[in-house]
Amino acid sequence: MGRREFLSQHELLVMLAVLRLGREAYGVPIGAEIAERTGREMLLGSVYATLDMLERKGLVASRLGEATSKRGGRAKTYFKLTAMGLRELREAQRGLQALSEGLPELQGVQS
C-alpha cells in the first residue's frame, strides 16, 4: 500500500476469519465463522466485496479450488493472508489492545 490505510471493521473480521480457517478459507466458511463467533450475519456478497478490496490492497491472496456439481460446476476461491496482511492485522491488534488496556468499563468483557 502506497499510503497507510486503516483496516475497517469488516476487513478486520474477514481477515481474522481467513486466518482461523487456514486452508479452508472460502466464502461460505468465512461468513459462517464470523456469524458463529460474533453473532453477526454477513451477506456472502459483502464477504466477497471485502475480500476483493483486501486483495487489491495486497492483504490477502487467492487461488481457485475445485468445482463440484453441488456448486453448479463453479470453482471455489480460497483465500489466505499475505505477509503484509498478517503484519497489518498484528498492528491493528496492537493498536486495539493499547487503546483498551486499563479501561474499567471493558474489564471482564473479553472472553
Binding site: M1, S46, A67, G72
Partner: protein, 349 residues
C-alpha cells in the same frame, strides 16, 4: 441434500447486476449452501442484498460522473469554448510553455471544469506525456480519463488541426517533457493513482517488480514509482528513493524515466537511479547506453521557454559503468570500475 435448482431469477439478477469480481465463486457458494438445505428465502435475501450492495457501491463510484452528465446538459456553448481553449493549451504544453504562458495556464486551470476538460482532451489525444505534465500541475481524476466524451463536429475539426500541429513536434517534445522543470516541482501523487500503476516499497524492505514488458526493477527501501505503459510509450516516474532498472528491449516502444527533473531514455540496458534530493539524482549505468536530458533551465528556476528552432540542450550519452551526479543546474559524470559499479547497487544484498 436438496436436489431442486436454486431460483433462476435470483441467479439472473446476480449475474446481471452483481459487480464483484468473484461472482462465479459467489454463485457457487450460494448453490452449495442451497443444496445443503438453506431456504429459498435465504437465497433470495443473499441475492437481493448483494445486488443492492453492489449497486450502492457502483453509484458511489460513479457519483462524480453522474453529476458531470447532469451539469453537461446545460451550458453547451460555454463547454465548447472551454474545449477550444483547452486545445490551444494542449498544443502549447506540447510545444513547451513560455514563462508568461506558464502563469496564464495556472490561472486558467483554477476552474475545475477547465482542469477536467484539458485532462479529457489529453486522454482522448492519447497523449501520456501531456497528461504527465498536467498531472504535475493538478490532481487528475481517473474518471476524466476513463470516460471520454463525445465531440461535436466543430470540435472534431479542431481536434484534427491540433493533432496535425502536435504531430509535427515530436522532436521538440523530447526535450520538453521534464517533470518538475516546466512548471515547478512535481506534486507527489498527482500523476499516479490517476494514470499509472503505483509501486512502493516500505522503509524496511526492498522490493522486486517485473513489469509487463519484462523489465525488471529492484526497488530500494522507501521507494515509490509510477508505471504508465500506453501504446508507444513505456514511461516511468520515480518520485522517491532508489531503484535499479533492467530494461527489456522492445523495438516498438521506447523506455523513458522521469526523475529528479531529468528525463532518461534507453532502448535496453541496466541502470541504477537514486534520488538524492528534491531536484538531484545519481545515475549509474551498469549495462547498455542511456541518454540523459539535463535540467537545463532549472538553474535559473525559471520555466523553460524554448520555441521551435531554438537550440535544444545536448543530451548526454552514458555508457556502461558511468555515473552521472546531478544537482539543479550542474551535472558531472565519471567512469567507474566494475567493482565501483557493483558497489553502487550493494544495497540489493
Amino acid at each position: 441434500m436438496r436436489c431442486a435448482a436454486p431460483p433462476r431469477l435470483a441467479n439472473w439478477l446476480l449475474e446481471r447486476f452483481g459487480t464483484t469480481s468473484r461472482l462465479h465463486s459467489l454463485l457457487g457458494d450460494l448453490a452449495e449452501e442451497y443444496a445443503n438445505g438453506r431456504s429459498r428465502g435465504w437465497y433470495w435475501r443473499q441475492a437481493l442484498g448483494t445486488v443492492a450492495l453492489d449497486s450502492v457501491r457502483t453509484l458511489r463510484t460513479h457519483a462524480h460522473s453522474l453529476s458531470f452528465i447532469v451539469t453537461s446538459v446545460t451550458g453547451a456553448k460555454r463547454r465548447d469554448r472551454t474545449r477550444e481553449d483547452a486545445f490551444a493549451w494542449v498544443a502549447r504544453v506540447r510545444r513547451g510553455l513560455r514563462a508568461d504562458e506558464a502563469s496564464q495556464l495556472q490561472e486558467w486551470l483554477k476552474r475545475r471544469s477547465h482542469r477536467e476538460c484539458i485532462a479529457r482532451l489529453a486522454a482522448e489525444g492519447d497523449s501520456p506525456e501531456t497528461l504527465a505534465v498536467l498531472g504535475e500541475i493538478f490532481l487528475i481524476n481517473p474518471e476524466w480519463i476513463d470516460a471520454p466524451q463525445r465531440r461535436s463536429p466543430a470540435i472534431n475539426v479542431l481536434a484534427a488541426l491540433a493533432a496535425t500541429f502536435i504531430s509535427a513536434l515530436p522532436l521538440i517534445y523530447t526535450h520538453h517533457y521534464v517533470p518538475g522543470l516546466i512548471l515547478g516541482p512535481a506534486i507527489e501523487g498527482s500523476f499516479t493513482e490517476t494514470m499509472g500503476t503505483v509501486y512502493a516499497s516500505d522503509r524496511r524492505t526492498t522490493r522486486r517488480v517485473v513489469l509487463a514488458d519484462g523489465t525488471h526493477v529492484v526497488m530500494n527501501r522507501a521507494t515509490r514509482m509510477i508505471i504508465l505503459y500506453i501504446n508507444n510509450w513505456r514511461s516511468v516516474l520515480l518520485t522517491r528513493g532508489e531503484a535499479t532498472f533492467t530494461v527489456a528491449r522492445d523495438p516498438l516502444r521506447g523506455f523513458e524515466l522521469a526523475a529528479g527533473g531529468h528525463l532518461i531514455r534507453t532502448v535496453a540496458g541496466t541502470f541504477n537511479i537514486h534520488l538524492t534530493g528534491k531536484d538531484a539524482m545519481e545515475l549509474t549505468v551498469l549495462e547498455g547506453t542511456v541518454t540523459v536530458f539535463p535540467a537545463h533551465a532549472s538553474a535559473a528556476g525559471a520555466p523553460v521557454a524554448l520555441e521551435g528552432g531554438t537550440n535544444l540542450p545536448v543530451p548526454r550519452q552514458l555508457n556502461a559503468r558511468q555515473m552521472l551526479i546531478s544537482e539543479p543546474g550542474t551535472e558531472s559524470e565519471k567512469s567507474l570500475s566494475q567493482l565501483q559499479a557493483q558497489a553502487r547497487i550493494a544495497w540489493q544484498g
